[in-house]
Amino acid sequence: MAASPQTITRRPRWRRWLRTDMALAFLVILPSIIAVAIFIYGFIGWTFYISMTDWKSSVVDFTFVGLKNWIRLVGDRRFQIDLRNLLFYAIGFMTQCIVIGFILASLLDQKIKGEALFRTLFIFPFAVSGIVTGVTWNWLMQPATGINLLFANIGMEWFRPNWASDLRYGIWAVSIAAAWQFSGYVMALYLAGLRGIPNELREAASIDGAGTWGIYRYIIIPLLMPVTFTAMVLTGMNAIRVFDVVAALGGPGPGNNIDTLALNMYQTTFNAYRFSLGAAIGSVMLLLALFLVIPYLRSLQLETER
């Protein structure tokens, strides 16, 4: 509000500011700022600190031990399996979500009858929790029945994978269940992106003699790069923190075959009470996530500044 006449009274500037609506806005948002500062940023720092203490029982122990837990973690067999699983899971999950999401969106963009129905079905799993997803797929992936039974019925008895209980490839099976849940989301992103591409561009390209493949190869896919980038960040983030689907599929599984960092962190901390080691695993997850988030937010910031 106009406060100019009051300048004559020569109050200190900050006191004048305090009387403005801008100050009121700041005061109203302050509790949220404090909550985020403590519960997110403060807790991140605190977790890193705990990872450098010697807290390994139900009794809190903040004795500083430096990088001891981190060194222990690097040599830990289960942690190494987790990193391997993260790599495989991330590749499987991200590829399925992005490829299937893109294909479905492209197909639905072809003036399809019943598009709304298809769309509703494809996104449907996203409304379902990771636990329900895992519990259902656990039933579908029982080696003695489920999907294997379907294969047997079409004469493919020889194809009988052990799915999530397979010692070597179990983590890929988990990525299928998780992609079932998440790929519809990626499809929605691509569909919105496709609808944002003006039709004139496609028409111009087809007048220039480009076929369907050419239009996709040289126009649509390049124009959808920002969506692909978004999808990669979102699916990558999901891969880092995957927890409930794995837990419901019987994780960590035989020989930790489908173990993940998130599950390891939970069990190390809240079942084995090795809080400092758990904090170290949590810190690793944070670092991996920051690695993805920072370039993403930087790109968004550049976009808004433009």
Partner: protein, 275 residues
């Protein structure tokens, strides 16, 4: 040319139908297994329809998860309402009162949306214990409200950013201040945004597993998804009951999604930061 067109159209529909079958498969199995009596749950007849409608699996599952279902309602409804209200006022400030550093602050808020909760769980437990909120419903509600601050602020901010500043200027001329503008100009036209955010928060909080598991360590207090996991994890519970329990846990969000799918889509797109 025309024949080729028919072929492509046919292929497109065929692929779509194949994917539709893939997406529907777990839902189909979930429902038919839940509707079977125990004696009909057989590994060789898994895909067959039940011989009739048997609801005994559901009554059995309900006795197992009913208290947790009620807990979930008592957690999700207040948490979604409170976090929407917080998000609304924060979004208003981020969109219309850009004090110095507000944009940087907003980016810092957003980072919080993406981080894996494992990185903050231990301090969360210590803090809740310190305030005697650990293991209580209010403690879990508070946690959901705080972790919901980034996404709700984002959703409301993008909604309010689309409302012309001239509207607010007119309000200022009429003598409205910070709260007046919100109360008399923005709030009355906020209902679409509230619907999206409420829906989003309801789904997220209802479907949460990790935070509920950690904050409410007592299985009696646990939210429904934790209970379903426990039911499925115990070997004594049969498949039909497991599926029925899963369906009970999924029912509220499924119903909400099917009845308000459009709003859900809007939240989905805004949640990825690109509307």
């Amino acid at each position: 040319m025309n024949l080729q067109r028919i072929w492509t159209r046919g292929a497109i529909y065929l692929i779509l139908l194949a994917f539709a079958a893939f997406y529907a498969m777990p839902i189909y199995v979930l429902i038919i297994t839940g509707l079977k009596p125990f004696t009909d749950v057989n590994v060789t007849r898994m895909w067959e329809l039940p011989k009739g409608l048997y609801f005994e699996s559901f009554t059995q599952a309900w006795t197992l998860v009913a208290p947790n279902f009620k807990n979930s309602v008592m957690i999700t409804v207040p948490a979604a309402l409170i976090s929407s209200m917080i998000g609304s006022i924060n979004g208003y400030i981020f969109a219309k009162w850009r004090f110095k550093g507000a944009d940087t602050l907003f980016i810092l808020f957003l980072v919080g949306m993406f981080l894996p909760y494992q990185g903050i769980l231990i301090p969360l437990v210590l803090t809740l214990q310190f305030f005697h909120l650990y293991g209580t419903l209010p403690g879990l509600i508070l946690t959901h409200c705080i972790f919901g601050i980034p996404i709700t602020a984002l959703l409301f901010r993008s909604y309010y950013a689309g409302i012309p500043n001239e509207l607010l200027d007119a309000g200022k001329i009429d003598g409205c201040g910070f709260f007046g503008l919100y109360r008399w100009i923005l709030l009355p036209i906020s209902m679409p945004a509230f619907a999206v955010v409420l829906l989003w928060q309801f789904t997220t909080i209802w479907n949460d597993y990790l935070i509920g598991l950690v904050v409410l360590s007592n299985p009696v207090m646990a939210p429904v998804n934790v209970a379903v996991k426990n039911v499925a994890g115990s070997y004594s519970v049969d498949w039909n009951v497991q599926m029925a329990a899963a369906l009970i846990a999924a029912a509220p969000t499924i119903l909400v999604y099917l009845s308000l799918g459009k709003l859900f889509m809007r939240g989905l797109l805004a949640g990825s930061l690109k509307g």
